[in-house]
């Protein structure tokens, strides 16, 4: 099995495909190469698997709009010896059948690969019902989940291929938002998921998760800080972070609910004095539509706003941050 990996240092004006499109292209081929893989769908993304379904009878199972069954049937397939890949929109994959994730997979100790699309406010115009920025926080509350947040289609592919041959419980969170280039270490099959230093500085440490890397890199361009990149956010690579952090200031920039990783970061740094700034999607009840970029701006998640928050945090340690929020 070879990995289709573009050179990570090749500049590109626009990405040739999205993570979702890459998943649609690669996942069907896993059925050809691995007899243990089965795909379970709930009426989302079914067109991409039509050809594969015909070639592998029974191994692509569309359960209709039935998300409890999506997870339950996936657990049953795992009991039958399959490596099930379960796929739908994030809120319908993680939130609606949350107890099935906890019990059918978790408590029964069965493995599956959950692949979501529709990250945070990707579906901005669709409104609250199609948004789940709390997905990682929810899954983090259950033991034994591996949570992968790729920042580029190449990274998504590497993480998908690696997950397909494991037996654990993995959540692979695909987003429309992506970095212009993949991080070389993040597409290396052996190292995929490990925390990586992308830039060394003498001051604070900034942890960028998945698709936030480009904004973070731009935001801190003129600051003497270390930038660390993570695609695997659970289990949290606290040992690596603890070894990297020198100065007490630590900033975590996540593409989902703000503060999701605050507890694990604090735990990783428990032996050293530190101050933590968490940046992410604020806890709020969405009532705006429009384009994702408008939500990015409203939440202060563009490079300029992230840079302002980091500078304020570094320069005025005793002052509370003025928290950007939605304009509503």
């Amino acid at each position: 099995m070879t990995s289709v990996v573009a050179p990570s240092d090749r500049p590109r004006a626009a990405l040739p495909d999205s993570m979702r499109e890459r998943f649609h292209r690669i996942a069907p081929t896993l059925l050809d190469t691995d007899p243990n893989v089965a795909i379970v769908l709930a009426d989302i993304g079914t067109d991409a698997f039509d050809t594969a379904a015909a070639g592998h009878p029974g191994r692509v199972l569309n359960v209709g709009i039935r998300e409890q069954l999506l997870i339950g049937a996936g657990a049953g397939l795992a009991l039958a010896g399959y490596r099930p890949i379960l796929h739908t929109y994030a809120p319908f994959l993680v939130e609606r059948p949350f107890e099935q994730l906890k019990l059918d997979l978790g408590h029964n100790d069965l493995g599956a690969v959950l692949v979501s699309v529709g990250a945070s406010y990707d579906a901005s115009a669709a409104g609250r019902t199609h948004q789940a920025p709390e997905d990682v926080a929810l899954l983090s509350a259950l033991p034994g989940w591996r949570i992968d947040v790729p920042g580029h289609p190449d990274e998504a592919e590497a993480l998908l291929r690696a997950a397909a041959v494991r037996t654990d419980r993995t959540y692979l969170r695909l987003s429309e938002l992506a970095n212009r280039n993949a991080v070389r270490e993040a597409v290396d099959g052996a190292a995929a998921g490990r925390m990586t230093v992308v830039r060394r500085g003498r001051g604070a440490t900034v942890l960028a998760v998945g698709p936030m890397l480009d904004q973070v890199t731009e935001a801190v361009a003129d600051l003497d800080v270390t930038v660390v990149y993570a695609t695997r956010i659970r289990p949290f690579d606290g040992a690596t972070l603890g070894a990297i952090v020198r100065e007490p200031e630590v900033i975590v920039v996540e593409p989902y609910l703000e503060g999701t990783s605050a507890a694990v970061v604090s735990d990783a740094l428990r032996r050293q004095p530190h101050r933590l700034l968490s940046i992410g999607v604020p806890l709020h009840e969405p009532r705006h539509y429009g384009e994702p970029a408008e939500h990015t701006a409203a939440f202060g998640l563009d490079a300029a706003a992230i840079g302002r928050r980091i500078r304020s945090f570094l320069e005025q340690p005793d002052e509370d941050e003025a928290r950007p929020g939605s304009s509503g």
Binding site: G58, A73, G76, Q100
Partner: protein
């Protein structure tokens, strides 16, 4: 040795073993509503034994209704899956036998259950997977026990529809119907399955001859449900 004698011996032994967990000799109807069904399944129907609990070709029994598992544990002890002495520890801190069963702790238990409405969706995936897998799994059947009140949970209905459309011949469901669903099932529970293309039988859940006949009825190309009705009685 005819079938009734054999099943009777296991039933009597199971009743005795339930006493190790309850500490008394008389049991209310709820503790034993599943007893005859379990005795028939483990004695006459299921192709599984303590020696084959890891065999891919074995039949799988999934207790979805994880409430009141004493009859289940007693039958597993009476048929050699677990040591009868373990029953004395039922519900205590370090016991393998909780008030809802855990597949990671109890030999022969295929799923951990307790929260209602989880077993049938898992059974659908398992039956479909065994059928698709073929090979060593060919012929293995899946039996899933649910309760009539458990059937309130919508997840069951997601599973019933898909199993019917897929024609999961190796899927068997037994519904213990003791009339405990708060709003009932007008027209009968079997009608919900029949409409979705299942083969159905409704029998007296304490009549072991009728249960065995219902479990062995042919149902080519369709999943099969046995509704085992349990009349309230004062023994």
């Amino acid at each position: 040795m005819n079938s009734q004698t054999t099943s009777h011996a296991i039933r009597d032994r199971a009743i005795e073993l339930i006493g190790l967990m309850t500490g008394d000799e008389k049991h209310d109807a709820s503790a034993t509503s599943t007893l005859d069904v379990l005795v028939v399944l483990y004695d006459r129907i299921l192709n599984v034994s303590p020696a084959t609990i890891g065999d891919p070709t074995r039949d799988r029994f999934l207790l979805s209704k994880g409430h009141g598992p004493m009859a289940y544990y007693a039958v597993l002890a009476a048929t050699g899956f677990i040591d009868p002495d373990v029953l004395l520890s039922f519900g205590t801190y370090a016991s393998i036998l909780g008030r809802h069963p855990d597949r990671k702790l109890v030999p022969g238990v295929e799923i951990s259950s307790g929260s209602l409405g989880h077993g049938l969706p898992i059974a659908v995936g398992l039956a479909h997977g065994l059928q698709t897998r073929g090979g060593a799994s060919a012929g293995a059947r899946v039996f899933c026990l649910v309760g009539d009140a458990e059937f309130d949970e919508g997840s069951n209905h997601e599973a019933v529809v898909l199993a019917g459309r897929l024609g999961l011949q190796r899927l068997h469901v037994v519904v213990i119907d003791n009339g405990s669903a708060t709003y009932g099932w007008p027209g009968g529970i079997a009608a919900r399955f029949e409409l979705e293309g299942w083969s159905t039988r409704t029998v007296d859940g304490r009549d072991r001859i009728a249960l065995e006949a219902a479990f062995t009825a042919a149902h080519p190309g369709r999943p099969h449900v046995v509704v085992a009705t349990i009349a309230e009685r004062a023994s």
